[in-house]
Amino acid sequence: MVTYDDGSPHPAPASFLGRYVFSTEHKTIGLQYLWLALASVLVGMVLSTLLRVHSSWPDTSIPFLSNIQNTPERFAAIRLLHGSLMVFFVLTAAPQLGFGNFLLPLQIGASEMAFPTLNLLSFWMTVASLGGMTASFFYPPETGINVWLASASIFCLAALLSALNFTVTTIDLRAEGMTLPRLPVTVWAWFLNAILSMLIFSVLLAGCVSLLSDRLLGSQFFSFASFLAAQPQNLVRQGSLPILWQRLFWYFAQAEVYVAMLPCFGIVTHLLATFSRKPVWKERLVVLALCGVGLLGFCVWGYHMFATGMNPYAPLVFSVLASSLGVPAAFLLASWLGTLWEARLQLSCAMLFSIGFISLFIAGGLSGIFLARHDLRSAAVSEDFVIGHFHLVMGVAATFAILAALFFWFPKLFGSRLNEPLGKIHFWATFAGVYLIFMPMHWLGLLTQSQLLPDASRAALASAGASIRTLVTLATICTVGAQLLFVLNFLQALFRRSPAQESNPWRATTLEWSVPSPAPRNNFSAGKPTIYRGAYEFRPAEANDFAPQHLAPELLSQQPS
């Protein structure tokens, strides 16, 4: 339990177990989270293809699944597995736990996280939860949901421990001169997200534990029969229990969006500044906006959690809160565009993916406005619209941020660079692909409300719906196929590691680029760094257009350009 950072060099453990399984080193753990996310995203994509194929051509027999019963429950189980893998182990794990663990100590000038042993524990709990959620797919639904709930509880605990670690590290382990205003926006995002996670996941844990106790021990926290009778009409409009459970789950999903997006906002802001060679436009406002996203995210969700049961005006207030999220989001957007404005852009793959993120964020955010209006929500759209919306704004946008981060930090992570031309082909294929999948889905959502229309138009709409579905499925197959380009690029870069890598290939300012690539075992072997300036001091007018945070002012003029 007593973990410490005594400053003495970590001896490199010799055995495989010591080096990988029981390593408390933040960089190893960060990479392990990234591997976990990579495995989950690949499986998750295959599952989504299966789902699409099944909904377009229901009669196709799929070899892997032919021995699992072909029932609606199994279809739902595949959806659950796809969602859990993507949400928990990709969107939550990669930007926060993967990149955060690897980079946070490096960016603030610490040699370790505050509690390395806790970090190790939380990683293996995450692995256990991944195992449990995958296993739940193979159980019959009744047992499966118990296993799933237990795994979700373990994930919550792991997320809590990580969040604690991130917060303490950021508060207490910053290097000399790393004042709060000088923190990179990425660190701010990880820090704020950790605080948000600490509040949200403890409540979710309470929910999971009570539900599990209901199912296993027969307690009556969620036994709704009489509870429903006492509720206002709007909550129980459909009058059945699954609706209430569905709502409970969406409450969590609502908060989860912010947990997944906050670190992505940080990453994108960081990358845009670096590749625009300009300071972040209105950096303080960006940090405030991030605080705002966190705070509002917590309110929207806390509101659901605490008040919907009692308040007949709940949907209205929810709608106002959800719409007001547009305010910090608009600030962020303004800052990104302000940073890009009149900049000499360097369109590397990392930059392309960051700009792609902005595009997806705008597109997905616009349909979110419709969904936040509670009166529109039930009247105008069906499930497909919602699926299209949150995949664009949460799933795909966050994935673009993750990919951008991977292209950017790959040298620091592995000591080599991903191939840029191949990366650009991959970017354009994916960018076109995701729009081709999710934009028609919005459309599909609107079309399926055709009972509002006169009979004559309905027949035409139905056939249009069928062809749109096929289009979406074909686009999915192509886009998933295009990811092979990325896997190829990744493996190639991994196996062609050159020993002599320049430490700062992107001419970036933050602290992680002051150490060799890949980052050495003890982070800062030359002694703890001292920080002299803010994180984004790019000077477009000068020949040497950037000032690293760690470089003393008198050394700045001698800096090799």
Binding site: L160, D172, E176, V203, R539, E554
Partner: protein
Amino acid sequence: MPGSTATHDIELIIEKKPSNGGGGDLPPVDRDGGGDDGKRPRRSKPSPKRYYTGMALGIVSILMFFMALASAFLVRRGSGDWIPVHIPSLMWINTIVLLASSTTLEMARHRLANGQLRSYRNLWLVTTVLGLLFLVGQVAAWRMLAAQGIYLASNPASSFFYIFTGAHALHLLGGVAALLYVARRNFDQAQVTRTVAAEVTSHYWHFMDALWLFLLAVLYLGK
């Protein structure tokens, strides 16, 4: 813009430390006691600040867990199948035991600060025993309820009663483990001093104490 940052940097140097021209070798002030600069002894103890911060944040997190349950309790209370649970009188005695344990813990901490190690050990032991006594008392109270036919699954009120007291007992068990750990640990080689370990543990313990009073109030007033 570049001009302004330059002045900013100069101000910073004046205010922080004189420059010796070799910025890279500036001995940094040890914020977290890392002692990475090679001039300090290798096994210097890190600054204990992180343990206090960690405990404070952990307490917030645990509080959120119980607040979620408490709010669920308040919402659920309105339903028709709610049969209030009468708090067993033993629990009031348990409460006094727990309050007493907080007092002895505070006395122990005081003795430790004054260097009265022997007296500290005794009081620490008394605290541990009182904590265990509270847990035994809670189990006895559950058995009393069970004897009246009130189980976890009986009705929503009893479900909440058991999860409140049960989750608190589990957290307190962690506290007892921490007390035992601090008592048994040899601090000569450790990275934390005995004082830090004792203080962080006592923060947790006092929080458990206050949390119990809160839960008891919710159960009593909300039945």
